[in-house]
């Protein structure tokens, strides 16, 4: 199988899976098998690409010419490879978890749920492998639309209202800002293909660069930079597997991934470094990190708190990319992975707690560690990773981001990371303490762990969070190529 076909298969496989899931809707066990088989084979297919990318190949697939010399084309490069591998691998774990969660909560319309999930994953593969901005934009919008039914899954009035905010902000920003930015780029440069070193250099200068960057940063609403972050807390009305894979990994990472890709392959790191008008991005990211942490501190609902924590962590990636040094660009890529493992664990735990006990608020969690030891152990590991304590994955990425910041004496970034670490500790540690050491409120109903597939899934991701601290060399090797090509 040559790598070019592999790209096509990686995008078609989830779609074929979606059809299979729809056809098997009447037999839930068969349907779940189809989901798992699709997820596993997708991961195998995506992983089979990695040796080629490691070897420095850049397989390309041109599907169709569109108009004006633009085409629907896909290219695999290190950043996209990492994102695709991450999303496809976690899809397996998430599918196992979904089975436990959806059945444990007797959710309705489960077939629609799995179908839309598979379509969303296909769109994520498209975003990861997109070879030009237009292709990326197409997949980006497909992802927004395919996740809408997942967010609105419950279908009651409050859910529909939240889903409307979700769609309104994501679609609105992409149409109002992202699309004009793409067209502007095209008019200025005559191309939309991602090139190592960027395409803007020499074509635009002065304040226009900063303005264009602004259109991208706020147009890519999925990256959840303040003030276009409101859709993420709103999306928490979705069933927890959706919040876990899509709103902690696939969708939000698609946002920061797109933004990082724009910074590296459209603007070019060196070019942007020399532009005073682009400096504001660092401050905006720093503001989002701190503000989101403060808001998270004040939340009472567990999932909403995790959502604000995600907003802050996403801006870590943007901050890292905006520091514009080789080490920080690696840090941005590593943080995409590290945060994914940690945050999906936290969401899995939140969903497991809901399934087992119907508890959603923070103050209900007193003493829950005794009832759900596995779940809370995983939660603890995830939380430590968010704070950045060794030996968790979160420490690795923070190390690189800080190293990059010191490399360029970027004190704003250093200050932000330190303060944010303290704030993260301030909102995660009390929960951990409460769960393990407080006495449970009297009168609570007795319950044990969530269904075993859910517990299995969250243990796997917790182990991955720990393992990433020790085994991160392949990721570093892969992403060093990124910097090597940029420099």
């Amino acid at each position: 199988m040559n790598p070019t076909d592999t790209i096509a298969i990686a995008m078609l496989l989830p779609l074929i899976g979606a059809v299979g899931i729809a056809l098997c809707g009447r037999w839930p066990n068969v349907r779940e098998v189809v989901t798992l088989v699709t997820a596993t084979s997708l991961a195998v297919v995506v992983w089979s690409l990695t040796p080629h990318i490691m070897a420095g190949e850049r397989p390309e697939l041109v599907v169709a010419p569109l108009f004006d010399g633009l085409s629907l084309a896909f290219t695999v490069e290190p950043l996209g490879m990492l994102f695709a591998a991450l999303a496809s691998t976690l899809w397996i774990v998430n599918s196992v978890y979904s089975i436990g969660y959806m059945r444990g909560n007797n959710e309705k319309n489960q077939t629609r749920f799995y179908v839309c999930f598979a379509i969303a994953i296909s769109a994520v593969m498209g975003i990861a492998f997109a070879g030009n901005l237009l292709t990326l934009f197409l997949c980006y919008e497909v992802l927004t639309l395919s996740t809408f039914p997942l967010v609105a899954h419950k279908g009651d009035a409050a859910t529909v209202r939240s889903a409307r905010i979700y769609l309104g902000i994501l679609l609105g920003t992409s149409i109002a800002l992202f699309l004009p930015a793409i067209i502007w780029t095209y008019m200025a440069t005559g191309t939309l293909t991602f090139e190592p070193g960027g395409i803007i250099s020499g074509k635009l200068a002065g304040p226009a660069v900063g303005l264009l960057l602004g259109l991208y940063v706020f147009g890519i609403g999925k990256a959840a930079m303040m003030p276009v972050h409101r859709w993420l807390p709103a999306a928490m009305v979705a069933p927890t597997p959706v919040s876990a894979l899509l709103h902690a990994v696939a969708v939000v990472k698609a946002g920061v991934f797109t933004l990082t890709k724009v910074i590296i392959y459209v603007f070019g790191v060196d070019f942007l470094f020399a532009q005073p008008s682009a400096e504001w991005l660092l401050y905006a990211a720093a503001f989002t990190i701190l503000a989101a942490s403060v808001v998270a501190l004040r939340q009472q609902n567990l999932k909403r708190m995790l959502a604000y924590s995600t907003i802050g962590q996403l801006s870590y990636v943007i901050l890292a990319a905006a520091i514009l040094t080789p080490l920080s660009e690696i840090g941005a890529a590593v943080h995409i992975v590290a945060h994914a493992f940690g945050k999906i664990t936290l969401f899995f735990a939140a969903g497991a707690i809901y399934t087992a006990s119907k508890k959603t608020e923070l103050n209900q969690l007193r003493g829950i560690g005794a009832r759900m030891p596995w779940t809370m152990a995983a939660f603890t590991i995830g939380a430590l990773s968010m704070i950045g304590v060794p030996p968790t994955g979160g420490f690795v990425s923070k190390w690189f981001i800080l190293a990059g910041a010191f490399q360029s004496n970027n004190y704003v970034a250093i200050f932000t990371i330190i303060v944010s670490t303290i704030l993260n500790a301030a909102y995660f540690l009390p929960i951990i303490f409460m769960a393990w050491f407080s006495k449970e409120a009297p009168g609570g109903k007795a319950h044990g762990e969530a269904p075993w597939p859910a517990v299995l899934a969250l243990c796997v991701t917790a182990v991955l969070t720990l393992a990433f601290f020790f085994f991160n060399q392949p990721v570093l090797d892969l992403e060093s190529q990124l910097v090597g090509r940029v420099k």
């Binding site: 569109l66 108009f67 934009f137 919008e141 529909v160 409307r164 699309l179 067209i183 095209y186």
Partner: protein
């Protein structure tokens, strides 16, 4: 002469001569079959003509063998071919799949008359697109207009009568203005043939009558095209007409008027009148922008989905004119591509409305609440066509929006204003399409009747055909874009 050479004439003659035949056949089934057959044949002819134009350039046909400028010639270039495709395609699809919907709107005894009028509209619109003679345009315009008044009033809804009356008054004023303009040009040049006019007008020393003619013609056609603020006939006419008539006319009739406007202005006036290009842009651009804003704003609050879509059409006509008012290659390309893509999107949406109306009594938003579960296929196609209207990438609507924004970027400061307006209107489109989609899928049904009640199969099939065409031309936009680019180059080649 081979048959292929006669195609331009057959394009008009086939539906025109089938019309009396349909009246003679009388039976509702037979007359429907004959009308559909003529429509499909016209569509096939249009496809053949388009492929001939694409390979061999513009076609010219002398009616009765009389050479221009004495006889009437049919001149079919890329732009006319695209209009012919739209007109005949819309007619063929709506007639073929819409029988159930029509039967609901009128009793069997009068259907043959209705189909005859339909074919006359088809012949008239095709004639306008094909002819190369200014007066001939007027004749076909009157033919199609009079017959379309019949179509709009043909339903059982009595409110259609007042809507038609309004349309009739405004349409007649528009046609009269056009005729006055043509008369003035004839007075100064002594010819009615477009190509001949272009040559002779250069010799006219006193330009004032020509300028007045340009004014009359522009305003007259703007009335026909429902350009803001002359659009007031359109919402009611679309709302109260039988659903299939709305689908047919919304897809092509206003666009034909814009086609004549472009043709007349670029061929005859722009190259010869001093500073006319600026007048053209200054007159149309503000109206286009206002139309976009007002149409979108009203659509956002309208509760009847047919009126909602009608106001969306007012906004979309604004898009088409905005592209044209740039008077650049990119702008005209966008404008022509918009005509094609909007016809696909709006045609599909009105077909979906017709499909819904076969099962549900009212067409207000609260009437259609929650029908997504009862009519899954119809509603899915509705959402798809809606996405195309909004301009989601991967659909035809995205291609034209891209072209329009790109054309606007070339325009400097005014372009920025245009971009802001287009973007705002796109967001408004998200809102009003979303109101429908959300209502259909998440609304609480009025009565708890949740039986599966999909629309008749032909209607759903036709709807999906058009909806999938939206996706096809979004991913493989070569045909409309090539035609639009050729048309834009043709139009601009007449400028000095």
């Amino acid at each position: 002469m081979s048959l292929a050479q006669q195609l331009p004439a057959l394009q008009i003659v086939v539906p025109l001569l089938t019309a009396p035949l349909v009246v003679l056949l009388r039976g509702p089934g037979l007359s429907w079959a004959a009308a559909s057959a003529a429509s499909v044949m016209a569509f096939v002819i249009a496809i053949a003509i388009t492929s001939m134009v694409l390979t061999g350039g513009a076609l010219s046909y002398e009616m009765g063998g009389w050479p221009a400028p004495f006889g009437i010639t049919l001149e079919i270039d890329a732009l006319s071919a695209l209009m012919l495709l739209l007109v005949t395609g819309a007619s063929a699809v709506t007639l073929l799949c819409g029988r159930a919907s029509l039967a609901q709107n009128m009793d069997a005894g009068r259907q043959h008359l209705f189909f005859a009028a339909w074919l006359i509209v088809l012949a008239g619109l095709a004639g306008i697109a094909a002819t190369g003679d200014a007066f001939n345009v007027f004749v076909f315009m009157e033919i199609s207009s009079l017959a379309s008044y019949v179509l709009i009033a043909a339903g059982s809804d009595r409110r259609a009568l007042t809507a038609t009356f309004k349309y009739l008054i405004m349409g007649t004023i528009g046609a009269t203005f056009y005729l006055i303009g043509v008369g003035l040009v004839y007075m100064m040049t002594g010819t009615l043939n477009f190509a001949d006019m272009e040559l002779r007008i250069a010799d006219v020393t006193d330009q004032r009558p020509i300028l007045v003619a340009a004014g009359f013609i522009t305003v007259g056609l703007a009335l026909k095209a429902a350009v803001f603020p002359l659009h007031i006939w359109l919402p009611n006419a679309y709302t109260y007409a039988p659903h299939m008539v709305t689908a047919f006319l919304a897809a092509c009739s206003t666009k034909v008027a814009i086609y004549v406007l472009l043709r007349f202005d670029f061929l005859v006036f722009q190259g010869n009148l001093e500073a006319h290009a600026i007048q053209f842009a200054i007159f149309l651009a503000p109206l286009a922008l206002l139309g976009i804003l007002v149409g979108s704003a009203v659509a956002m609050v309208e509760a009847n989905i047919k009126r909602l879509l009608a106001f969306s059409s007012v906004a979309q006509i604004g898009y088409i004119l905005l592209g044209a008012s740039f008077a650049s290659a990119a702008g005209l390309t966008a404008s022509v591509a918009l005509m094609f893509n909007h016809a696909l999107a709006k045609g599909a949406l009105f077909l979906a409305v017709a499909a819904i109306a076969t099962r549900i009594a009212g067409l207000r938003l609260d009437d259609i609440a929650g029908i997504g579960r009862r009519m899954p296929w119809t509603c899915a196609a509705l959402a798809l066509a809606g996405a195309s209207l909004v301009g989601i990438p991967g659909t035809a609507g995205f291609v034209s929006k891209w072209l329009l924004l790109q054309a606007a970027f070339e325009q400097g400061t005014f372009g920025i204003v245009a971009i802001v307006v287009v973007v705002m209107s796109s967001l408004a489109a998200v809102v009003y399409i979303w109101r429908i989609v959300e209502c259909v899928y998440f609304g609480t049904p009025k009565n708890e009747d949740t039986t599966f009640a999909e629309a008749p199969l032909p209607l759903v099939a036709g709807l999906w055909l058009v909806a999938l065409a939206n996706v096809y031309f979004g991913l493989v936009p070569a045909l409309p874009v090539t035609l639009a680019e050729t048309a834009a180059a043709d139009l601009l080649s007449h400028l000095p």
